[in-house]
Each structure stands twice: as C-alpha cells, then as structure tokens.
Symmetry: C2
Subunit: 659 residues, 2 copies
C-alpha cells in the first residue's frame, strides 16, 4: 500500500484550511472537558501524601487528613486568584500569555517551559495511573503495564492526529460517571463508617503498627512538608480554564469563572472524602505497582462488585482523558511559541486534519520515553510533577499583580490596551491586587518546598530541564531574528546580489547516457563549460578522451579538465577544484555546478550505486555562491511516469488561475 | 574534533592508490598465516563431538576417538583433492572461482553465499571461543563474555581498517606457540598416561557413570552422525590456501601444496592427540560457558602452572587470529562478487588505507549480531558452522571434476584457456578426476548429514540464508545489467536525447533575498520563466503582488502564476503544476525547476526551517525529464567561507592538469 493510502486510511481525508471548528461549550460540558485533569488527580493525590508519611510508621498516617485540608485550602486560594485572570483575559490568559503581557520575554519563556514540562508529565502520569486503575482490578496484568501505558498514549495520539476535537459529550460521560461513582462510594463509606441507617458498619483494617523512623523537630517537619508536596499534585490542570476561556458560551468570563468554582468544589469534595475515608479505614499504601489506595478504599466499602468495577473503569477512563488534556494543551502552547519565534516554525503547521501534528508527535514521543524510564510507575513520576504548574501559577499571579497595578492608575473612562487584552477602568483593584500578591507568594513558597523536598527524588530533572528549554527558546528566537535580518528586502536593489559568472563546472566520471545528457544541458547554459574528470594515470585519461571524442556534437565547446589524483576519495579534488574556481577565478560571483545524477525511486536500487552525486551536493550546499543543477537520469522511468500521471491529474484538488 | 581529524587519528594517513602491497610468504610464515583457522578449530572440535555423545551417557564418550579418526580421514581426503585445485589454479582458485569457471553462474553464487556465511561464522565462533579460553582460566570474567567477544571483534575490525596486512611474522608467533604448547601437553600427557620414564602416572578422572538415553539401531546411529557432524568443524579454513596461492613465493603451486599437506598433518596431529587424551583421561564436557575440554585436559596433565596459562593465552590468541582470517576472506570475496556485479559496486571501493572497508564493516556488524544472539556461546553456534564450508568443498570439487574432464580431451601440446587459468596437456587425468569425484561426493554426503543432524539446532538458518543470498546476488546482477543497457552509448546520437524546453518553473513562497536571488538566476536562463505561488485566498495574493512589483528589475519577463489551494500541503499543487507543464505542455521534453533554497551548514539550524525545498526536490527527483536547479541562500556564509578556503587549498593533494 502506498504511503498516501495508508495515511488516508489512518487519519481520514484532509480538511481544507477554511474549515475551522469553533465549538462553544455550555457550562456542564465545559466542566467535564476542563475538569478531567484536576478531578483525575484524586486517583493518586491522597496516596502521594500517605506514601511519604509511611516512613514515620503507620501511626503517622493520621496526619494525612490535616495535610489534605492544607492542599484543599491552597487549591481554593489559587482558584480565587485565577478568577481575576479569567475576567481580565476573556480571550484566554494562560500563564505564558499573562506573563508575556506583564512581565516580559524571559519570565514568559520560563512559564512556557514550566507548562510544557508539566503537560508532558500530565500525559505520562495520567496514562500510568490509568493503567494502575486497570491493574488494581486485574493484578495479573501488572507485568504488561509499560506496554499498556504506551498503547494508551499511542491511541490518544492517533485520536488527536485524526483531529477529534474536545467534544464535550465524549468527555462528559467518564467525568461525571467517575465523580458520581466516587461520591457514591464516599457516601456509602461515611454512612457505614458512622454506622447510620443500620448499615453494616465497616470495621477499620487493623494492621500491626509498623514503627517508622522516630524523627523529631526539623526532620519531622521535613517529612510533613514532603507529604504536603506530594498532595500538591492535586493542583495540576486547574489553570486549564484560564487558557480556554474562549471556548465558553457568552458571557465567557462569567461562565468560565463559575465553572472554575464548580470544578474546585467538586475536586476538593472528592479529595477530602477520599482522604478522610482512607485514613479512617486504616488503609496502607502498597509498594509500587500494588493496588492503589482508591481501589483499596472502594473494595473495602462496596466489596468487589459492580460499583467497584464501575469506579475502576471510570478511573482509568478519566485518567486517559486527563492524558488527552495534555494533547490539547501542549500542541496549542507550542504553536503559540512557534508563532512568536521561540520554537521551530513548523510546530505551527497544521497537518491534514488541521491539528498541530508536530506538537502532538513531540509530546507522544517524550511522554512515552518518560513512561519507559519510570516503568510506568506514576508514584515515582510524581516528584517531577506539579513543579511546573506551581512555577507557572506563581509567575502568572505575579503578572496579574503587575496588571492590577497598571489598572489602578486608570481614570474612569480610560482604557488599558495591552498586547493580549483591553481593560476598562474598574474599582477594587486594591484588594484584587492583594489576592494576586498572596497567590503569587504562596505558590512560590510551595514551589520552593516542592523543589527542596523532592529534589533528589527526581525534581532536579525538571529544575535542569526548564532553564534548558528557556535557553533553547531564546537561541531559536535569536536565529530567527538573524534570518529575518538576512532576508529583509528593505532598500534592496539588484546590485546587492553577487553577479552570476559564466563558469559552469560539470564533474564527469565516465561517458554514458547519464553524463552525456548532463553535458548537453550544460552546453546550452553558457560559453564557459568545464567538464572535470578525476583520473589516476595517463592511460586512463587517454581511454577517457577517446570516448569523449566520439560525441563531438555534445562535447563541442566544452573544455575537458583532467585532475590526477592518487586516492580513492574523488570528492576532495572535485570540491577543491570547484572552490578554486569560485574563490580565485570568480571571487564574489555565483558559479554553477552541473551534477549528472543517476536516480532511482527504489531505495534498494539506490543503495546499489555510489552516492557520489549526493555527497557532492551535500558538500557544495553550504556554499552560498554555488548554484547546483541536478540533471537526473533514470532507467525505465518513462514507462512508469506515463502510467502514473493521468490519475494524479484527475485527483488534483488544486485550481489554477493564471495571472 | 572534526571528523577528518578523528578519522586520521584512528586510521592513519590515507595510502595512495599506487601503493599496493605484494608481500610474498615463505612456507614457514605461510603455514602460520593460513593454518590459524584450521588449527584453532582444535579448541572446540573435540568438545563438539563429546557434547553430543553425552546424551548417550558418559560411557558413550569412548566413541569420540573413532569418530575423530573419521573426521581426520575426511580432512586428509579433502586436502588431497584440493592439491589438484592448487596446481591448476596458480593464480588462486577459491570455491567461487573454480565453480564459476567450470559450473557456471548459479553454482558459483551458491558457493559464494556458502563461503560468506561461513566467514561470518568464523569470526563469531572464533572470537567467542577465544573468550572462552580466557574465561576458562579466569571464571570470574564469564559474565562479561559477550562484551569481551564484541571488544575482540571491534579490535580486529580496527586493525583491519588500518590496513595491517597478513604479516607473516605477527601470525607466526601465536600459531607456533599454540601448536608447540599443545603438542608438549599432549606429549607429557601420553608419557604420564602410559607411565613411561617413571613420571607420575595420571589417574583418569572417575565420574559416576551417568546413564544417558538408551538408544538402539537408527536412533543410536543418528547420535553418532550428529557427533561426527560436530567434529566436522575441524575442516573449516582448510580451503584458505587454495584462495591465496598467489601469496606464496615461486614455485607457488608447489609451495602451496606442500604447505597444505604440512597444515593437514599438524592440525590432525593435534586433533587426534587431544581427542585421545580427553577420552582416556575421562574428561566430561561442561555445560555452556563452563571450562573447555582443552583447558580441563591441560590442567589435569600439567596442573595450573606456566604451561597451562601458556596454552590458554595462545589458544585465545590463535582464535582471535582465526577470526582475523574471516576479516581477510570476507572482504576479498565480496569485492570479487562486487566486481562481477553480484554485490553493490561500492563493496569494491578501497578505503583510505586501501582496504575493502565496506566488506570489513559488513562482516563486523553481522558477526557481532550473531555473537549477541548466541550470547557468545560458541558451542551453540557450531551447528551453523561448517555447513557453508562443506557445501563450497563439494561444489569446488565438482568443478574440478568437470575441469579434469575438459583437460582429458586435450592433445599433447594443446592448451586449455578458461576465464581464470591456462592449463597445458597433462597425463593421469583419469585418477585425478576420480579423486575429485570422490571428494565431491563424500563432502556432499557429509553436507547432507550436517544439515539433517543439525537442522533444528540452528542449521536451518544457514539453509535459509544461502538461497536468500543467491537471490540477492542475482537481483543485483539483474539490476546492473539493466543499468548497463540503459547507459550504453553504442549507436547513440544527440537525437536520442529529449529536447530541452525553454520552460523554467520557480516556486516562490514569499519575496525575500533568498527567492529574489533565485528569480535573478532563473531570469538569465530562459525567456519562459514562471514563478508559481500557492495562496489560500485573493487577499494574500494581492499582498504578494505588491511585494512582487517592488522589484521590476528582477521580476521583469517572469510570469507570475498563482494557485489557489485550501490545504496546508503545498507540495501537492506545486508538483501537480510541474507535472502538468511537463506532460501536457512539453511532453517528452526536459523542463527546468529552480528551487530557492535556504540552507545552513548547522544541522540544528536546518531543523528550524520548513524542509519544503528538500521535500520538493525529493518528490521531483524521480522524474527523468525535470532538471532541478538549487539556488542556495545562506545567512552569514560569506564570512565563514573566506575563513575556511586558504587552508583547504594549501592542503589539497590534487595536481590539476589542463587539457
């Protein structure tokens, strides 16, 4: 099957550029779309706290609930201060946009690097955690977990390359099914735990008390901080709504803000519920790849029945949807960066189905590598996670703080215009500014805690990666600026171009149909054509000359130059000769090299030929003053071409208009 | 460090083509050079017999000696009939040459495929066995055996790429040291075993008799045949002298024949000695990677003293030398095949140091893969080994049989001229022919035994590989024949070439320095230049036109054609347009496409640009009637080039001669 056919089969018919989807979401569906990431964190956030506390012994697990409440407070504060962003950037105000608009280039690149890192981890962590939900229910699958996680990523990649949009309905089912299922389990759990309505009370599991490290003072506080940092993974994905304000129905800002509050309440209700029950039922996190806390909790409350499998299935699904969120966010942000010249230009090219294919592929590859390195163990990946999000929170709130300062200077009726938004005079900037300041400072402090406590567990990777990304963005920007300067046409006249010399050089190894065709083409081009041949001795040259003279019509007016060279690497003397003509005979002029090229469209056949023509072209391509002419020669091509043309012409979707 | 510098450091200065080594070897050194392969087989051949017999129980090991004598008889017969080859092909008569000269193309390709397979296995088996000699003495190294074998192959590859020739002296030391050491051990062993000269007699090891499978009749015979087949690995490398007759001092044939006899006697003396003592001392082969039989025998006879380490060290060295033999034979045979058009032409290219580098690299890669697959366990590889050699023996003897028939028809004074040799009238062709016939039949029967007994143990790989190789040789030959036909200049006149049309097409995305430079070049070429641009809508086109009209000097006389296209894949409409011009407007004529190409010699920078120019060239290169002109444009290249030129010019070893 030809590659275009396979491509169509896999990805469907290409979409025309003029067809752009502008779906607007109502609040119910928007909640489902944007909440899958933060809500799905409930599959691992509680466990992340508990598994740290376990070093202090099973007794210390009682600290899980207070720490969970601290995380919930942080979430509510972040949501509260993000509402300001939503209101002031109705066209979408992700951390990159807000930071760029208010703090300048470098902070915005830091925010972008942080977000990209986190989007990659969203995919790795969510797909690994989704697989864990499956293997918790079916432990015999645990040895295939890496393959399963990679298959999940591959499937999500394929769906995204086909360009299936964030269809609210598709998202709504697993999100609400998960929330409903877990809320039901929590409800039953609380009722049974408290012994209400005469239901069989649950007897908390009694484990032998395991003594942990007996720590005190600073060391104890350190473990608590680390546990808190583990819980902060619950915050990932909260910022998504601020990015996607434009996807809401009007009034966008208001709807988005309300949805954000609903999302926060829902996510935290689950988080606190799970945390309360896990600790009060005496659950203990298992070693890596073991049964998850959520699975243990559900099993203990409802038994291994319908509701248990319901929760496990929708846990897996909502986690895969959360991974899908990464596939929406990463390509979108990288296309912004690409448009601004901080990432390769082709990252903004839309593929056949109008998707940012390069971004999707980059994300798929990098997140798969992380899954492989960490053996699909999401608990091991968590120390890398949430850092990026926290850094972008902090930067974005700092940007908002700055913006509020500028707004406070407006007089009634005045309008503040920035690159990304347009803001009217408003009151209450003082307390809004204070909210943003607190948000910036608190998230920055949490960031420091995250880095400090998780540094040796893997966070150092992110600490190294973000500056490298910023450096890369900056270098790319620098290169594109240089290119822009080099290509500019301002005040350009044709005298600015180097003159084109008559000299045409044509390297010839042997006299055959291929080289004769090239000689014929060269002969028409100029009056100063030089055929250059490399020989080891006089006898070879004489034999060559006899063949040369057999075709006076074609070789007439062409000067034959022979270079004696006693090594096999014939490219060296050829390139030396060409350089000499280019720099000594015709300095600062453009010369032409004609390359007779024997080509085949069959890769295996090409391997059978010396790739001299290709190597020569590669060596010459770096010289600005050398034009290269490929005169192709291919055996049996005529037959092939005439067979192929008609259908191609018939299929062509192009319409030509003469000017 | 630049690549050329690294290359020089690793491989030394290039050798000029005129410097070709023509070392002639005296008999003592020639024996050392050619005998390393067959003599080194003694490191594993006896063990290969014993490890098969072990399935019948330890009692059956007494059959080792009779089977070994059978192998020795086969060796002497093969040597005897090979002497005929040496005499009749004084310029070298490997199996490929003799078969091609007498039986035709397909048999010769079968012989070549068989030999190439065996050369690869020579390298894999010998390096693995060499490592085994080391790990027998130092068992703690056994877990690194794969790495050690790969390192040995890498080292041998490097030495061969540097072009160190088969220097007789280098070979003489380990070969004679090994032969001397083992003969001494055998001597002491026999003396002690028989209790002569009052030396402490060796008490044979007494093992508990292990009962093996109680087989009878055909099944028993089958095991004996399999054991015999194992011993046939002692025959590998015997044919090397017939290939290298030319390396001997005059009279070449006589010296080569005498050396072959000496080699056979020496190799068989070791083989029978080792076999006799191993069985009479009651040695039992250990499981894979255990101590080798030769090591066990030496240790029991001489203790773990000086002589023991001497034998182990020189066993390892002679095995690595045997691996080196593969690195001489494989590239030489593949260069023959390449010259005859059965392998890619570049296999005959000599690299900097006048070696057949592609052959060396191919061998290194394939033999390393086999070492990895078989975990450097040479006993496991042996079932694949010796098949190829036996097949080539058989074909070569059959060829000699045919040759003798042709010689017998000569009258006194007449001369038989074939492609590879020149033979005068001679007598006694009758019995010589009989010897060759027996040789051909016996080796063919042994081949059948080898295939039948080892098929499921891995021999099937070789049985599959050889026909595949023959198919490949044949396809390559077919392709080159077709190319030769397509390129031939017989009766060629310039009317045979398609006329060159004036049409010049230049795709343009934007007006900038890069595209303007290309337009300027195109303008000079022809009166029918068409600039083609792909646009999505009229507004874009209008903006483009305004920029276009700013440079009347450059765009004068160039027709601007706009193609409206609502997809992102701009190559499709471009290629369609070019094809239409090529097939509808100018059928059967050559048209020209000018590609403005933005290039950089920095790979990372190139990644930042859309590779449209490269993709377009790749798509157009398969069309015979389209000449492609690359007009390069590079930022900042001028500065770079002027820095680089002077030293290159100074270094150039080329001398130019104007004609």
């Amino acid at each position: 099957m030809a590659i275009p056919t396979i491509r169509r089969f896999l990805f469907g018919e290409p979409f025309p550029t003029s067809r752009e989807a502008h779906e607007r979401l109502d609040k119910v569906r928007a909640l489902a779309v944007f909440a899958s990431d933060p809500i799905s964190s409930n599959a691992y956030a509680t466990e992340a706290i508990m598994s740290v506390l376990l070093v202090l012994g099973t007794g210390a697990l009682s600290m899980t609930l207070p720490l969970g409440l601290g995380v919930a407070a942080l979430v509510l504060m972040v949501i509260f201060s993000y509402i300001q962003t939503i209101i002031h950037y109705p066209d979408g105000g992700g951390a990159y946009t807000v930071t760029k608009d208010n703090l300048g280039k470098i902070p915005s690149l830091i925010a972008a690097g942080a977000l990209l890192t986190d989007y990659v981890l969203t995919v790795s962590v969510s797909s690994a955690a989704g697989v864990r939900a499956v293997t918790s229910a079916f432990p015999e699958l645990v040895e295939y977990r890496v393959w399963m996680a990679l298959a999940a990523i591959l499937l999500i990649t394929w769906v995204n390359l086909r360009g299936v949009r964030e269809s609210g309905t598709i998202f709504a089912v697993p999100t609400y099914a998960f929330v409903g299922g877990v809320l039901l389990v929590i409800g039953i759990g609380l009722v049974r735990y408290w012994g209400w309505f005469g239901l069989t009370p649950i007897v908390p599991e009694t484990h032998e008390m395991v003594e942990g490290a007996a720590l005190s003072g600073f060391a104890y506080l350190w473990v608590l901080l680390r546990a808190f940092a583990g819980g902060c993974t619950a915050l990932t994905g909260i910022e998504a709504i601020s990015n996607g304000t434009k996807a809401f129905q009007a009034p966008e800002s208001k709807n988005a803000a309300q949805t954000m509050v609903a999302m926060g309440v829902m996510a935290m209700a689950l988080f606190i519920g799970i945390t309360y029950l896990s600790t009060h039922l005496g659950l203990i996190p298992e070693a890596s790849h073991g049964e998850s806390i959520l699975s243990q909790m559900t099993r203990q409350i409802t038994g291994t029945g319908f509701l248990y499998y319901w929760v496990q299935i929708f846990t897996a699904l909502i986690l895969f949807l959360a991974a899908n969120t990464g596939f929406q966010d990463f390509p979108r942000l990288s296309s912004f960066l690409s448009k601004d010249g901080f990432m390769p230009r082709w990252m903004q090219n839309r593929w056949d189905r109008l998707v940012y294919g390069s971004g999707i592929m980059t994300l798929a590859v990098v997140s798969s590598i992380i899954v492989i390195i960490f053996h699909a163990d999401e608990i091991a990946m968590l120390p890398l996670y949430a850092l990026g999000v926290m850094l972008s929170f902090s930067l974005s709130q700092a940007g908002m703080f700055r913006l509020m300062g500028r707004i406070s200077k407006l007089k009634p009726g005045e309008v503040l215009e920035t690159q990304y938004t347009r803001i009217h005079y408003e009151t209450g900037t003082g307390w809004k500014r204070a909210v943003n300041a607190i948000g910036a400072v608190v998230t920055f402090m949490v960031l420091i805690v995250l880095i400090a406590t998780k540094f040796t567990e893997g966070a150092w990777i992110v600490v190294v990666a973000i500056p490298l990304l910023v450096y890369m963005f900056n270098s790319i920007d620098h290169h594109y600026q240089e290119v822009k300067l080099g290509l500019r046409t301002k005040d350009l006249t044709s005298e600015d171009f180097p003159p084109i010399a008559e000299a045409v050089i044509i390297p010839i190894g042997d006299i055959n149909r291929c080289s004769l065709q090239a000689l014929r083409y060269a002969q028409r081009l100029s009056t100063d054509v030089r055929a250059v041949t490399i020989v080891t001795d006089q006898a070879t040259l004489e034999r060559f000359k006899i063949r040369w003279e057999r075709f006076p019509e074609i070789t007439e007016g062409i000067k034959l130059e022979a270079i004696f060279y006693d090594y096999r690497d014939i490219l060296t003397p050829l390139v030396d000769y060409i350089k000499k003509v280019n720099t000594v005979e015709f300095p600062d002029q453009v010369i032409t090299v004609v390359i007779p090229e024997f080509v085949s469209d069959n890769l295996m056949e090409n391997l059978l030929h010396n790739q001299t023509a290709n190597f020569l072209r590669t060596r010459l391509q770096v010289y600005q003053d050398i034009v290269i002419i490929d005169v192709p020669y291919q055996i049996g091509v005529t037959r092939k071409r005439h067979k192929e043309i008609p259908e191609v012409m018939a299929e062509s979707p192009a319409t030509s208009s003469k000017n």
